[in-house]
């Protein structure tokens, strides 16, 4: 990415949907979600930011969670998307694409001198 310094408010806005998307790909746990977001170029998401988002999504019925014993390690809390979560993700993702396209239409292109 050319500009790694993305405004934090952008990340805050997109984080719930990005987290839901990562969990919808496969049943997973907090640290793996953080790694997935970092690999996608969203930067390092702190645990103190990530878990409240996961818990809010669960409270909204978009995720479920269960504790499982790790292989030779302490238990991990696994999250899975519910049907309502997948439905929400598809609707919000479509709306997000529309929104970003509209916003991009207003902005000067990277090569523009405007």
């Amino acid at each position: 990415m050319a500009d790694d310094e993305l405004p934090t408010e952008w990340l805050r806005a997109v984080l719930p949907l990005a987290v839901l998307s990562a969990v919808a790909e496969e049943e997973t746990y907090g640290y793996a979600v953080a790694q997935r977001l970092q690999a996608a170029g969203l930067g390092a998401v702190r645990g103190g930011t990530l878990y409240p988002v996961l818990n809010r999504l669960e409270a909204d019925g978009l995720l479920t969670s269960s504790w499982r014993e790790g292989v030779g390690g302490p238990g991990r809390k696994f999250f899975a998307a519910t049907d309502a979560g997948r439905d929400h993700l598809h609707r919000r993702a479509a709306a997000w694409h529309t929104f970003t396209e509209r916003a991009a239409g207003l902005f000067p292109s990277p090569r523009s001198t405007r």
């Binding site: 746990y29 907090g30 640290y31 953080a34 702190r46 645990g47 103190g48 878990y51 409240p52 818990n55 809010r56 409270a59 504790w67 014993e69 790790g70 030779g72 390690g73 302490p74 238990g75 991990r76 809390k77």
Partner: protein
């Protein structure tokens, strides 16, 4: 990455339990939140303060999820608890001295105090419930067995000492 199969609660976890208690978060949620932190730092090897902030900051950041009860609720609970304590004390004295209090039997005041004490006792027992680790089902913080005994023994002792003092004087 840690490979310890038995999760132990760190100093950070203990402190987080305390700060979440102060935010009046229900005990089952405290267990979940602390286990998430412990599990995450075991996976990442990060310092919990760097990953989550200090226990005070992290507990305060969760106020969106767990709002403290409004001030009037806390005030009502405190007033009911104080009234219950006063009536139980006066009722117990009246019963022990075999004299009415404000023209009524001590048993009546005692019973009224106990009934008034039900809502605050329920609130306290809900908040003071044991915090368990969802990974193991074991308590996260050990409460000494004598703590409950002391909680009930002190008011009883005050009434008995008062009664004994009055009996000695008269």
């Amino acid at each position: 990455m840690s490979t310890d199969p038995t999760p132990t609660v760190t100093e950070y976890g203990q402190s987080l339990v305390l700060h979440l208690r102060l935010q009046e978060v229900p005990p089952d949620r405290i267990g979940e939140i602390v286990a998430e932190v412990e599990s995450h730092v075991a996976d990442t090897g990060e310092d919990p303060v760097e990953a989550f902030g200090t226990p005070r900051e992290y507990a305060a950041s969760l106020t969106d999820e767990h709002r403290k009860p409004p001030w009037w609720w806390t005030t009502t609970t405190l007033v009911l608890a104080a009234a219950a304590g006063w009536l139980i004390g006066q009722g117990a004295f009246a019963v022990l001295l075999d004299e009415p209090y404000l023209g009524r039997s001590g048993w009546l005041w005692l019973a009224t105090g106990l009934v008034l004490g039900i809502p605050p006792a329920y609130m306290v027992s809900r908040r003071a419930g044991e915090v368990r680790d969802p990974r193991t089902g074991r308590p996260l913080v050990r409460t000494p067995r004598w703590a409950t005994l002391v909680f009930y023994a002190i008011p009883l002792l005050i009434v008995l000492v008062g009664w004994a003092a009055i009996e000695l004087v008269t």
